[in-house]
């Protein structure tokens, strides 16, 4: 378990002493202090919002939940000031290997190029991530984190949401302009707004065992189809911090959970896999999973993020990572709406962008699941053909689906301004900003993602080369690569990754996504793109 605090006390809040007829009024209440709710609260607070964060428990959940955090999530956490702590504790990896039977079919590298601040993935037990996020929350006086505060009722009014909250000392009421429900797959707020949560249920059962051992396996993701130690099924091995290894074994659909999860029955399977018995169990659980989403992520003033809005199978690390992408997407939009610098309709683009991302994540993880557990005999036959073709053909290797790992979605969104110029490559509008190694004007090495953070994580103009400086609209950050006082792109990688000639300019959103790009921008074109990205037209 982590060195950080895991048990938190309930404290009575003055809000609880208010008369029922005059409850306290807050701008935004976030429900659920998991990775998504905590990250969202921190982002909002860093943008100057006061946030009430409610959680029905009083401790960080143990056990085996999310372990793989993506490059995109780490870049988000960098903006929240905790990326480095996560990476320092986490196990960095980028290589995956796929085995069929006893032999390796192929391996892939999720970040084959140099020059990125963050790796493709780290593995980190979710409780560490939550502990570090809670430590960060403690540094931000604008976040009011209330443990053992359980929302029991929600009433939607025209200009606020009324919450009834139960505590160990009885209930109280709060009014909030906006509520963000980050209360997980079994979201009670989702039930309170009466929303459906439908999708596909998978029958196959998987057994997760986190075992503690010292082992010389490399820090790679190893996936087996039909391994010698687990005939006919699939298996996954992955390293976590503290010499803990995640083992995931597919079971027969008719396996009896009560029997399967007994340590004396799990141990022989694991021993066959590892070839020895020198390990201890940290955690054993059995699970089935579902892929489903809400129809709408925005229900008036109640917004859903993370597992409360969408659920995927675990193969692909698309659960927690997509929830964190939800948080970074809604945070800046909610901030603008609360400041009245953007209309409330900006929140609708959260639904547009993130529900499309959820569809993509569900599609990808469903395909992986179907490949691992073919539904029909013919599907099994096609999979067998792919696995056998993979031994001798490149196309076969690429069809083997042992999980397609989370990458940030590209948004097809009304906030983007379509390209008017010709681009050979580089991030098109709706894409998250690629990182690149640069140096500050004094020659100190740094990364583009760091430059973005130094400019305040707001709308930012990224311009290249010696062209004449564009007169940036008020309130925008500016990053200049090249030129007299600009960042130095010695290796040319920033220019290459942004397909940038002199004058090329990217308008970045506060979440680091590209809103527009121009070969030779005018002030008018930038103003128009900015207004569009703010939802003002």
């Amino acid at each position: 378990m982590p060195q950080s605090k895991v048990q938190f006390g309930y404290h009575r809040h003055p809000n609880q002493d208010r008369p029922a007829a005059a409850p306290a009024e807050h701008a935004v209440v976030v429900v659920g202090a998991g990775p998504v709710g905590l990250s969202l609260a921190i982002d909002l607070a860093q943008r100057g919002q006061k946030v009430v964060l409610l959680d029905d428990a009083d401790r960080i959940g143990e056990g085996s939940r999310a372990i793989c955090f993506s490059k995109r999530s780490l870049e988000f956490w960098d903006r929240l000031g905790i990326g480095q702590r996560m990476v320092d504790k986490g196990v960095v990896w980028s290589v995956g290997k796929i085995f069929h039977g006893a032999s390796q079919l192929y391996q892939f590298n999720l970040l084959p190029e140099e020059g990125h601040k963050r790796p493709a993935f780290i593995n980190l037990q979710q409780f560490y991530a939550e502990a570090y996020l809670i430590d960060r929350v403690g540094q931000l006086p604008d976040i009011d984190l209330r443990w053992r505060n359980r929302v029991t009722a929600l009433e939607r009014r025209n200009d606020y949401v009324a919450l009834t909250i139960d505590t160990p000392e009885g209930p109280y009421r709060l009014h909030a302009q906006y509520v963000v429900a980050c209360d997980g797959a079994r979201s009670s707020l989702r039930q309170m707004v009466g929303a459906e949560f439908s999708g596909q249920v998978f029958e196959d059962q998987f057994l997760i065992a986190d075992v503690k051992m010292t082992a010389a396996f490399p820090t790679e993701r190893w996936f087996w189809f039909d391994p010698p130690f687990h005939a006919g099924r699939s298996a996954l091995l992955h390293k976590q911090p503290d010499d803990v290894w995640r083992i995931d074994l597919q079971l027969n659909p008719d396996a009896d959970p009560a029997i399967e999860k007994k340590p004396e029955n799990v141990a022989p399977r694991i021993a066959r896999m590892l070839g020895h018995e020198h390990f201890d169990f940290e955690w054993i659980s059995l699970y089935k999973f579902q892929c489903r989403r809400m129809d709408r992520f925005v229900h008036g003033r109640v917004i859903f993020a993370g597992d409360s809005a969408h659920q995927v199978s675990p193969f692909g690390a698309r659960g927690a990572n997509s929830g964190l992408e939800d948080a970074e997407n809604i945070a800046w939009k909610l901030d603008r709406v609360l400041r009245r610098t953007s209309p409330e309709s900006l929140l609708e683009t959260y639904h547009i962008e993130r529900s499309a991302a959820a569809d993509e994540n569900i599609r990808e993880s469903t395909r992986s699941t179907d490949f691992m557990a073919p539904v029909t005999q013919q599907e099994a036959r096609l999979r067998k053909a792919v696995l056998s073709l993979a031994k001798e053909t490149e196309f076969g290797k690429r069809m083997v689906n042992g999980g397609r790992l989370s990458v940030p979605s590209v948004y097809d969104t009304p906030l983007s301004t379509a390209d008017a110029d010709t681009w050979r490559s580089g991030p098109r509008p709706g894409t998250s900003m690629p990182d690149a190694p640069v140096a500050d004007p004094s020659g100190n090495p740094m990364f583009l993602t760091e430059a973005f953070i130094r400019k305040g994580t707001r709308f930012t103009l990224l311009t290249f080369g010696n062209g004449k400086t564009v007169d940036a609209p008020e309130g925008l950050g500016t990053i200049r690569v090249g030129g007299e006082d600009g960042l130095i792109d010695a290796a040319g990688l920033a220019g290459e990754r942004y397909d940038a000639d002199t004058g090329a300019t990217y308008l970045l959103r506060p979440d680091g996504y590209v809103a527009a790009r121009f070969r030779q921008p005018t002030r008018a074109s930038i103003d128009a793109a900015l207004a569009r990205a703010c939802g003002l037209n």
Binding site: Q378, R381, L382, K384, A385, V386, S388, L389, T393, M399
Partner: protein, 74 residues
């Protein structure tokens, strides 16, 4: 490029024969395995998802026609 349904082989009988002979001596299960692999190899060679979708639609239409005929006979 749309799916080509004109005759592309100089000797169509040779092509048909080659496929038939590949299945000779195989059990139904083995034949099904062979077909699965063959479909994947050929699909990759075509390398065009739209052509593949058209090919699937054309092939599936045969099955619909066949089941309709069967229903009519009943």
């Amino acid at each position: 490029m749309p799916l080509s349904t004109s005759s592309n082989f100089a000797k169509p009988d040779d092509a048909f024969r080659a496929i038939v002979e590949a299945h000779r001596g195989l059990s139904d299960a083995e034949s099904a395995d062979l077909d699965a692999a063959l479909v994947l190899v050929l699909a990759n060679h075509i390398g065009d998802i739209e052509v593949l979708r058209e090919a699937i639609a054309l092939a599936k239409r045969r099955m619909l026609d066949a089941s309709q005929q069967q229903q009519q006979q009943q």
